[in-house]
């Protein structure tokens, strides 16, 4: 064996054996496989490590998990040098440059013996659980989770830094202006909770109890370890890929909410193209002077937010900051924008069989329908929680003006009596009914597509967010602040719920889910735990897929024709993400099933 690296780990090349390399016939063809073996102390195999091969600018990476024998096989690599990174909680990251094609590599990992460094390897939710322990009142705890985790993770390295009192005062004031409103009682206690939870003297021993034992960080099960994860860096360092979708053409489209661009990615070639959305609105769009600050590195005037493909292949996008609906024609690559005459902050959209676009309007408590044939909007007012809230919503435009004219400070205000309803997720039932959630009101509802009559259903859990139907017409709902997944049967009006088994329970904040209609498995965003979560209702089993990039905050899920799961990392601000770049992510859960010769051949 030949030692080829002396960086922070040891890589050996098996001299004569070369297995598992369907060689590329042309430079750049994605057919090579990088294979190898991971060992730890005493040559023990490292099971369930995330093994990533990455290269290029913008980078593209492929990640697999090591198997029970510590073997791995990273498929689909073009010829040339790749950066190899091996990551496993409890062990120090290992990195080296390796050639493809090339002989199998052997990586000897070093155990992480520094408790602080080990704790730093853990996903945000593990730290956040310590914070949640500080909050005795469950109502206050729920409020914090719902209000303070919807742009970024809580508990990641960027959010647990110590702050002085004056910094806390400014941070909480700023967050309130950006929408993270807390009651004065909660707000007053936040600095103390942070200090108590994240003090290393307290947190590190708690988080590293049992370090060095197998139980400390058990590997994912074999079914998870079959998966292959692809990541593409998309956009710049100030980009924020809020949502993505798989187009019927096979291309993947993603909206960059901070840079006003639509991206197209061809997964086969890796080719990307960006389509700017032009607007004469100021930075910040119609909210430029409303009091809510734009991110400091953003160039957003319209803020593309959610997107879906219509039956004719066109792509419709809600332009949240611009108060517009956008249509992109993939053939002509041209945009058409439709200014809304009513409501503000168009949010999540879905398209019915007739090509009509239905979308929630988060700011003004509406759902709207846009008919492309007549180019007209129909806006439906949703019920508020109370008459006073309804009055407030009705007054909001004027209050935007009042806000500029009179001394009302949003940073000093709190969540009030329940906050605003905030219509959020939306989906269309088999019978054509339009179902939506009201995040802060803790309820869902149905709109009759013909009469536009609205029915409201209280949820037995908090913060229903982005919901989806399965193939049988049952509605699946993530409970964002309740850490669960729910199924609602519109026929019986019955709810069933399952806690999401991210440990510690309650530390996960599932932002969105989607149902693979080929088998009705439910895929859930592990938004605060750098994971994707699969739930099989048939046997009520969860599988948790750890993702390779720390601070992976996900908000939407889609599937391609081969059952692969797509999402995007949209933590805001982007600089909190490991290496500071947004990525779109594809997880192939079946890559290791029969037929994957590369992986089978990987075993030496």
């Amino acid at each position: 064996m030949t030692r080829i690296s002396k960086a922070c780990f040891t890589v050996f090349v098996y001299g004569a054996v070369s297995v598992g390399f369907p060689l590329a016939t042309q430079a750049g063809e994605l057919t090579g496989t990088l294979t190898g073996t991971l060992t730890g102390t005493g040559d023990q195999p490292i099971v369930g490590a995330l093994v990533t091969a990455e290269r290029g600018d913008p980078a593209r990476g492929v990640t697999v998990y090591s198997d029970a024998a510590g073997h791995f096989a990273v498929p689909g690599l073009a010829e040339g040098d790749w950066q190899l990174r091996v990551r496993r909680i409890g062990w120090r990251d290992a990195q080296a440059t390796v050639p493809v094609p090339g002989p199998p590599v052997a990586v000897a990992l070093e155990a992480e013996t520094d408790p602080a460094a080990l704790a730093a390897q853990l996903p945000a939710n593990r730290w956040f659980a310590l914070f949640l322990e500080q909050i005795e009142d469950p109502t206050q705890r729920e409020q914090f989770v719902r209000q303070c985790t919807y742009c970024h993770q809580q508990g990641n390295a960027a959010t647990r830094v110590p702050r002085e009192d004056w910094q806390w005062e400014k941070v909480l004031h700023l967050m309130a202006r950006m929408g993270g409103g807390l009651t004065p009682e909660v707000r007053a206690q936040v600095p103390g909770w942070f200090d108590a939870a994240y003090d290393p003297a307290h947190a590190v021993p708690r988080l590293t109890a049992g370090m060095g034992t197998e139980a400390f960080a058990p590997p994912p099960p074999e079914a998870v370890r079959r998966a292959v994860i692809d990541e593409w860096v998309l956009g710049g360092r100030a980009s924020m890929q809020h949502d993505l979708m798989v187009h019927p053409s096979g291309d993947v489209y993603s909206v960059d909410m901070m840079q006003d661009e639509l991206f197209r990615l061809d997964p086969e070639t890796g080719e990307t193209k960006r389509f700017p959305i032009e607007s004469d609105l100021p930075l910040g769009g119609v909210f430029a002077t409303s009091g809510s600050p734009l991110q400091p590195n953003a160039n957003a005037r319209v803020g593309p937010h959610s997107l879906q493909a219509a039956p004719d292949g066109s792509i419709w996008v809600t332009l949240a900051l611009g108060n517009r609906l956008g249509r992109f024609d993939p053939t002509t690559e041209q945009w058409t924008l439709y200014p809304m005459s009513e409501g503000f902050y168009p949010h999540t959209l879905r398209i019915d069989d007739r090509g009509r676009v239905w979308f929630t309007i988060a700011g003004s408590n509406h759902v709207a329908r846009f008919d492309p044939t007549t180019e007209t909007f129909e806006t439906i007012t949703l019920p508020a929680v109370s008459w006073s809230q309804a009055a407030l919503i009705r007054m909001l435009p004027v209050l935007f003006w009042v806000f500029q004219t009179f001394e009302i400070d949003p940073g000093e205000a709190g969540e009030g009596s329940g906050g605003m309803p905030v219509p959020y997720g939306i989906d269309i039932a088999l019978d054509g009914g339009i179902w939506f959630s009201q995040l802060n009101a803790h309820r869902i509802g149905r709109i009759d597509p013909d009469t536009l009559e609205v029915e409201i259903v209280e949820t037995p859990f908090t913060a229903p967010r982005r919901l989806r139907f399965d193939s049988q017409g049952r509605l699946w709902i993530p409970g964002f602040s309740s850490g669960l997944v729910a199924r609602f049967d519109p026929k019986t009006r019955a709810f069933e719920t399952w806690p999401i088994p991210i440990e510690p329970l309650g530390s996960e904040t599932p932002y969105a889910l989607h149902v693979d209609h080929s088998n009705d498995t439910v895929w859930i965003c592990g938004t605060n735990s750098d994971s994707l979560i699969r739930f099989d209702p048939a046997n009520e089993e969860f599988l948790v897929y750890p993702l390779p990039t720390r601070v992976t905050y996900t908000r939407e899920i889609d599937f391609d024709s081969e059952g692969r799961v797509w999402t995007s990392n949209s933590n805001a601000p982007t600089w909190q993400i490991e290496r500071g770049q947004p990525r779109v992510i594809r997880l192939d859960p079946r890559a290791g099933f029969a037929g994957d010769d590369d992986r089978v051949a990987a075993a030496p």
Partner: protein
């Protein structure tokens, strides 16, 4: 993400029925009077920029003059000067799109908020307030933003401010007017050349 609207919702949900009831009552009357009927409200209002006046212009000139008296601190230095009537905040985004401000300091490339100013009781009533962010000399594009989160006294008028940038090769100045509760993301953008470019 629900940004602004949730923020506004928080505000109005909190203040409804409070001491601002009379203001909101006025808003209700106006809302009913602007043709809402049974429909939802129209969108938010984008206000025009605050106008320059002789007083604001003179104040900004004074602030610029005070910044000119400060020696360069080395590397890339950005200073924001403003009067005692307001609490402005300086945001400087570096070449790798990470912003240095009171909640994110230092940045990965070493940008740091050196001085922050606030509405504190100990502040001298007439003192100019100067905030400062420093970066090591890293080539690339920089962006300077200014936020006006709150007034320090009873007044809420727009506030004059001045920004001065010192780089190894250049000095830049900007005069502006900040409006309370409005963040101006770009008051100034500038490029720092690499040493190779400077030598050409």
């Amino acid at each position: 993400m629900i940004r602004s609207v949730a923020g506004m919702g928080s505000v109005f949900g909190s203040v409804f029925g409070s001491v601002f009831g009379s203001v909101l009552g006025l808003g209700t009357v106006l809302a009913m009077g602007v043709g809402c009927d049974d429909g939802p409200p129209a969108g938010p209002i984008v206000n025009p920029p605050a106008p320059w006046t002789h007083e604001r212009s003179a104040a900004a000139d004074t602030l610029i003059g005070q910044l000119r008296q400060l020696p360069p601190a080395g590397g890339v230095t950005v200073r924001l000067a403003f009067g005692p009537e307001s609490d402005l905040d300086l945001y400087v985004t570096g070449p790798f799109e990470e912003t240095v401000y009171y909640a994110n300091t230092p940045s990965r490339i070493g940008g740091e908020l050196v001085a922050d100013q606030r509405c504190t009781a100990s502040a001298l009533p007439q003192a100019t307030r100067i905030e400062e962010v420093r970066f090591p000399t890293v080539p690339g594009r920089y962006r300077v933003g200014v936020d006006y989160p709150r007034a320090c006294g009873e007044g809420r008028d727009p506030a004059a401010f001045a920004v001065r940038v010192d780089t190894p090769a250049d000095q830049l100045e900007h005069r502006g007017i900040a409006v309370r509760q409005v963040f101006e993301p770009i008051v100034l953008e500038f490029d720092v050349a690499s040493p190779e470019e400077d030598n050409r």
